[in-house]
Symmetry: C2
Subunit: 238 residues, 2 copies
Amino acid sequence: MSAPPDVAAILFDTFGSVVDWRGSLIDELTAWGQGRGIAADWARLVDAWRAGYAPAMDRVRRGELPWTRQDDLHRATLVRLVGEFGIAGLSEADLDHINRGWHRLRPWPDSVAGLTRLRRRYIIGPLSNGNVALLVNMAKSAGLPWDMVFATELFRHYKPDPETYLGACDLLGLPPARVMMAAAHNGDLHAARACGLRTGFFPRPTEYGPGQVCDCAAEEAWDVVATDMSDLAGRLGC
Amino acid sequence: MSAPPDVAAILFDTFGSVVDWRGSLIDELTAWGQGRGIAADWARLVDAWRAGYAPAMDRVRRGELPWTRQDDLHRATLVRLVGEFGIAGLSEADLDHINRGWHRLRPWPDSVAGLTRLRRRYIIGPLSNGNVALLVNMAKSAGLPWDMVFATELFRHYKPDPETYLGACDLLGLPPARVMMAAAHNGDLHAARACGLRTGFFPRPTEYGPGQVCDCAAEEAWDVVATDMSDLAGRLGC
């Protein structure tokens, strides 16, 4: 194994890489629906909700929408889907509660232990398209030991816009070569590398459920390729 | 004692309120000067450095300087003072090292324990005129358990500009009435209250050394007035 790169800070993709959005939301909505007597194909709704994620941000990135924070993009997609799925009887408070499920996502089993190890040696923070409130509430409920929360909201750009990667490096006072982007998504790392950041990959092969076909393995020679967050910590000397 | 206000997040002034800038810098510079054989009146230099703090930010606030982060304001003041004090033989690396003393300030004895208690119930973060890198490095070295680092750099305004207090509330997704500004400085709380935030005061009667005459007591009826950070935690139900 080669020596770990000379990085001082590690930025983490969050949805899918640190937390299990799909399993968390399906479990929470299934239990909530049972308690309320509302039947729906919650798994299909969650998958459709996530499928609306990139297109909503792309509308902001193309300038078709003014800057809109992720909580509001999530909610607009949810309202559309509730209509399409014919789920009746939800109040505004119900929709707010469901939408804030993104603030309560649970970490993958290795995330907290791996981050805790990495934090001893590196500055760690999310670099996520979730907004600050979402990420701070998530860290509180999931126990994620971030040093700083780099929501892309701080830059009013969504990943993979370069302003996000370079904005975080600038706030850290570090050149991109001393900052690593860590993610389970090849596309995120591709964009980070184009900005000069170092890159760390670990797969989350069930992020999209059984039968996942994308991002099951590293698609470029990233600086570090690990099997999970614990392995990433070990490969980075923690 | 009345019930604590219904706040979800507490923002802390940092220099002087959470960390002892004067004692830290004097001790560090005295030891560093002895090791390097450089004699100077370090206490007087530190006091002059701090005296240059508000005027430097005011130049930014008035628009006489473009946005300039605190590390760079600190360094420009340091360079001027080193000349005025006639301290010879400092390299650029020495000046960088001295300037980064602000990243290594030590907490007051009650700060970490008090913040740790408060964090169980509230979102906590600095709202400081230090820049992100300074505050993140300080938290790392001092063990400050922030949930989020609200450097005023994020808003490109320095306190007491209202953009800083309202910007932090906006990122938290909370109305100002559910956010408390906590500080040892009446002026900071006055500006926060004018923006609708709740206010918490605790004195740091030796922040400016022996003979301190300002900010020794609450000057308005703040929502909470405590004797120190531990007492603040107790009065806020932690």
